[in-house]
Symmetry: none
Subunit: 197 residues, 4 copies
DNA sequence: TATGAATGAGAGTTCATTCAT
DNA sequence: CATGAATGAACTCTCATTCAT
């Protein structure tokens, strides 16, 4: 199972993932060619098709992989924490994630609110899983009285996710020199104020 | 004589704009073909090229047109208002705009934070003009003492623009049944709270 | 017949001829667009079609006009002259013509030995008329004993025409600083030597 | 392993060369489509672009290949010969070449004296290399006293090249039934007579 | 007599995908 | 497990031609 061949193959897949995410973040899915991906990964074009059924499938697995990671970090962040602290931990986790996987975050920002794309179903589903963690935390806050009782949990969670994404990416693209702590503080400050209502 | 011709041509360009913005918002620039655009506009393919140098130029003029409109509405909104009220007016104007030109807003959200695209220069420039109106208002608020003196005006304006965009589009895509007033209230509430700091 | 309208139209046709001959000489027939021709002639594209049935017809009339002129000058040159002097006069006439209508000469050089072109029939016919004047002169020289009796009149005339064309155009393109008299002398010298055989 | 592939690819390129030269000679560069070339070579259209950057590049490599061959034959022809004999050898070599690669010769005749074409730089350069061999021979003849001391070497070489081309192609197009030896004799006769001056 | 907006067939080019090696 | 030559459908763009003004 984890013999030489499997490891080699896993390595190739990993390099293709990295190459694809960078290029698609920069140029978008359609503008990124399989040739580009293979070249940046340092393999032949045929190798892409040996490892993935198609360009679309490669992209879908990429989304699955990336958002799965984010969801896992969300779950780890809130584990055992009381609602308000958990909310802060989520913001921190999202920022950390975006900083580490900047290209993937850009890609998400570009694709998340599109319509009529092949992988839309997949994306909505994955988005739902990530936001569910946020929603659970928000719901817990409402139940415990830490958050206003009339809060629309679904919309608030959705907005929280989107705001974190856009603010962090905006920071990375337009003010990369600004320290992340400031950004984190601003976001946490806003969340706390909203919570207090 | 020349007037009839000019009017006809202007009409054709307008229809191409409308067709292009819808399709590109849904599918992205690369995935949208010139054939699609021509078909939706109800003209022949050659007509697209008679009116625009290239697909890229059509898109750039589209960006210019759309963001120009937004900037104009921003300017009209803040005209003569004191800082805090002006800030509220900006939020309202942005939401109104996004509701009216939903497709264009989606398109902006998808392209604004990308790198390495042909029209990036154009986009950055236009974004700068729109954000300048916000920045002027924020700066006035800082000067008047309505906003915290240590506020990073540039970053705050940038974030305000991004948050408005992502929240409004998220609402249109994922909770279209929710009345816009609520969204507006939420956003205004957040802005006011931040202002009070 | 020669009223205002006709004169204006004739003027437009003339300008289109001049524009077309220049452009086609430089770039070839296919690479020259009707837009190019109209622009250089300073008229609208529709005007080309108002004056000529099609691009091909414009070109054919151009060939007819240009080679007709050359043939006429050939006829005028040899008129009344004894064979050997007539031969020299032909060389001079051809060089004069090429110098005056350089672009047309280039165009001829490019198209004359092509096969499978639409206007080939026309071109062969016109070429035949021009070469007939040369052939008549050569034949007269053979008959009078000034030229060798076993000379293949047809081939010799054909070659004379081609050599004149290629040497003159080569001179115009690659050694334009060299005076025409030298070129003429060289050519006449060769012809005279061949004649003496 | 790699050898099999390389050979296959080289084979494809060769077939594309042959197909392209025939078609372009007949119809000209612009009038020849990539579809035509692919069809005659018996490959798919995409294969043309897998092997050549563009239609223009294919044509440039074609020119390079064809004129390179001619230059090589010129060099082989004059090798070790005294000036006058070398001159005769050049004429023979040129005629042989044109007879063998008739299509390429027609193409050269059509393109050589054009201006404003993309590959002009390339063509001038290659023409220079071929004519340099002639010029060296002519210069040797001048130095040895076999040719007139006041001969303009550059112009004479240029003209010799052009005359050989136009006479040979004229013969192939308009009198293909005439044996090549006669043509060769005529040309050699002229050259010898000029030499005697 | 002249115009120029519009057209659509067809050109050059790209690229996801296949497959023999 | 990996390769890269070949493919052909689909793309962007061009341009000779038409026609209402």
């Amino acid at each position: 199972m984890t013999d030489g061949r499997t490891r080699r193959r896993e390595d190739t897949r990993q390099r293709l993932f990295v190459a694809a995410v960078d290029l698609i973040a920069e140029q978008g899915f359609s503008a990124t060619t399989v040739d580009d991906i293979a070249a940046r990964a340092g393999v032949a074009k045929g190798t892409v098709y040996y490892n993935f059924e198609s360009k679309t499938v490669l992209f879908e697995e990429l989304l699955r992989h990336g958002i799965g990671l984010l969801t896992a970090e969300f779950r780890a962040a809130v584990d055992g924490l009381p609602p308000l602290e958990a909310l802060g931990a989520l913001v921190r986790a999202q920022l950390e994630y975006i900083r580490r996987y900047r290209a993937f975050a850009q890609l998400l920002l570009s694709e998340m609110w599109r319509t009529n794309r092949e992988w839309q179903q997949t994306l909505r589903l994955l988005r739902g899983e990530a936001i569910a963690v946020i929603a659970d935390t928000v719901q817990a806050g409402v139940d415990s009285g830490d958050l206003p009782a009339d809060l629309d949990v679904r919309t608030a969670s959705s907005a929280l996710f989107g705001v974190g994404l856009v603010v962090a990416v905006d920071w990375l693209v337009f003010s990369p020199e600004r320290p992340i702590d400031e950004v984190q503080e601003s976001l946490l400050g806003i969340v706390r104020r909203v919570a207090r209502t």
